[in-house]
């Protein structure tokens, strides 16, 4: 569940950071912080100091506000609110990737769309989103891999314990087997997500491929015909030669 949240959130932040605002440099610096801090020993130190979460987050109020909904929805939303700080911390890399992707979009595309009367909302759905689709796929894959291979992940901890633990350790082979199984499961997850976002090929590339295929087909046909023609000529020549011999 965390994957779509992180990706969508990163996309929103990247779009906001790409908007025309003052103090862009400062904001971009701030949103680069999670990339630095979330990897490396700094984060562990901060979590141990209790600086990893917002202190004044009133969750019970939100819970009472959405209390009329069925239970599983409430628990899902509450889980979101409880972990939102962690999600924020995990989305630093994705923000930067999206930012780079959004910046590569040609501005003239937007200008053309505006000339034709498209609103900003339409521009987002029809221009921005299709253009950064490959990056979205990349971000989804990265998010899954990052979340599953995180140091805080319990399965990784179990594997590590089995590998390096002193008491009741089952050895390196056992840990490796666990890791392989885990990797296979994560791969299946990645495949499911990738299939959901299945990339359509570029229209131009498709056409070019089709064209090339047809060209090759035609070439083959021409060669076949030529070959047949050559054979026919040869046979004809033979026949005439025979006929000539016979005459002589």
């Amino acid at each position: 569940m965390a994957v779509p949240i992180i990706v969508v959130f990163a996309l929103i932040i990247a779009l906001l950071l790409n908007a025309k605002i003052k103090g862009k440099g400062v904001f971009r610096l701030i949103f680069f912080l999670p990339v630095i801090i979330a990897s490396g020993p700094v984060m562990a130190q901060l979590v141990s100091q209790g600086a990893g979460s917002i202190p004044a987050m009133n969750t019970s109020m939100i819970e009472s506000m959405i209390g009329f909904l069925p239970g599983f929805i409430v628990s899902a939303i509450m889980g979101l609110f409880e972990n939102i700080v962690m999600y924020l911390w995990y989305s630093g890399v994705q923000i930067l990737i999206f930012l780079a992707a959004v910046q590569k979009i040609d501005n003239s595309l937007y200008e053309a769309a505006k000339m034709d009367g498209g609103s900003t909302w339409e521009c987002f759905w029809k221009i921005t989103l299709p253009t950064i689709k490959p990056m979205t796929l990349l971000n989804v894959v990265y998010t899954i891999v990052y979340l599953s291979n995180n140091e805080q992940n319990t399965i990784i901890e179990t594997i590590k314990d089995a590998m390096f633990g002193t008491t009741g350790s089952k050895g390196y082979g056992y840990a490796s087997a666990m890791a392989w199984l885990y990797a296979v499961i994560v791969t299946l997850l990645v495949i499911v997500f990738a299939a959901a976002l299945a990339l359509k090929k570029d229209v131009y590339a498709k056409k070019a491929k089709k064209y090339r295929k047809e060209q090759k087909k035609q070439e083959r046909l021409i060669r076949k015909i030529e070959k047949r023609g050559e054979q026919y000529e040869k046979q004809k020549a033979k026949r005439t030669a025979k006929a000539a011999k016979a005459v002589h």
């Binding site: 605002i21 912080l33 020993p41 780079a100 490959p134 990349l138 894959v141 990265y142 791969t187 131009y204």
Partner: protein, 339 residues
Amino acid sequence: MKSRKQNELQKPQRPSIKAKAVAAPGRRLDRYAVRKWFFGSKDTQGVGKLIAIYGLLICIGFVYLYPLLYMISKSLMQRADLLDSSVNWIPSVLYVKNYVDAFTSMDFMRTLWQSVVIAGAPTLLNMVMCAVIGYGFARYDFPLKNVMLGILIFSFIIPPQITMMPNYLLYNDLKILDSIKAFLLPAFLGQGIKAQLYILIFFQFFRQIPQALIEAAKIDGCGHFKTFLRIAVPSAAPAILVVFLFSLVWYWNESYLTQLYVCGVLGDSFWNTLMVALKGFNDSYSQVGGSVTGEAMGSLNEGIKMAATMLSILPVLLLYFVLQKQFVESVDRTGITGE
């Protein structure tokens, strides 16, 4: 919300019917102007939109900034301030000696220089090699391409903790342990830390280059290599920047592998990075300031520890602040995107 309020305020001030009749078109225009002022039009941004953008950015930015502020404030506190519960955020005196202590006990200048080398050299190699590999995947069709891409992604998925030991043994056999070669060689072969991610980034960026552009270059007489340098690389400038930043930061922050491969487990090697120094900071501090004992030491260490942490991430922050301007400029310069 604000615009509605203003409209309500305007209602009671309505003049007589006559004046109303005269002013009617003007008022409608006025309302339109308010809406435009608030929501913005197609080419200008309204105030409401700006407020929303800034509000969101500041709120979320605060979450990220909070630990940093906490670190800065704690690192500037004296021992008395740290123990005093009435002092929460603002230290009573700006106490810089924490930084001085951290500076000397980490041997900062030498460690910084070595960190730059250890993080920088593999990063440059990573950038070049991953760009080449990504270009190969994106542009050329060769047998088993999809299988190889699958293997690439799968090797990204395998938990890195598992591959650590075999790698160590392999490097030991190759006799490249305890030197920077243990980072350079894998990076050169496209196997650096998280190199798979960089390859995928380049792959996706190079795929977006319109085929027409490359065919045009071919017609104009560009070879494979020249096409790569002249067309693919400039149009993927943001990708290069992103890869450079990620690679640098991850090599910079990697303390465990650095200690294992480069610095040597015993810690008697020539190489030392800021992160490794930070990790072993408690030990080195107790050697320098040995006079501190007992209860006070834990909380005293905290201020200096924070100062050391600040010092270790400051270079990367400064670098990013300089580089992030390139984000916009690099795109303006190339100007070859879309079809």
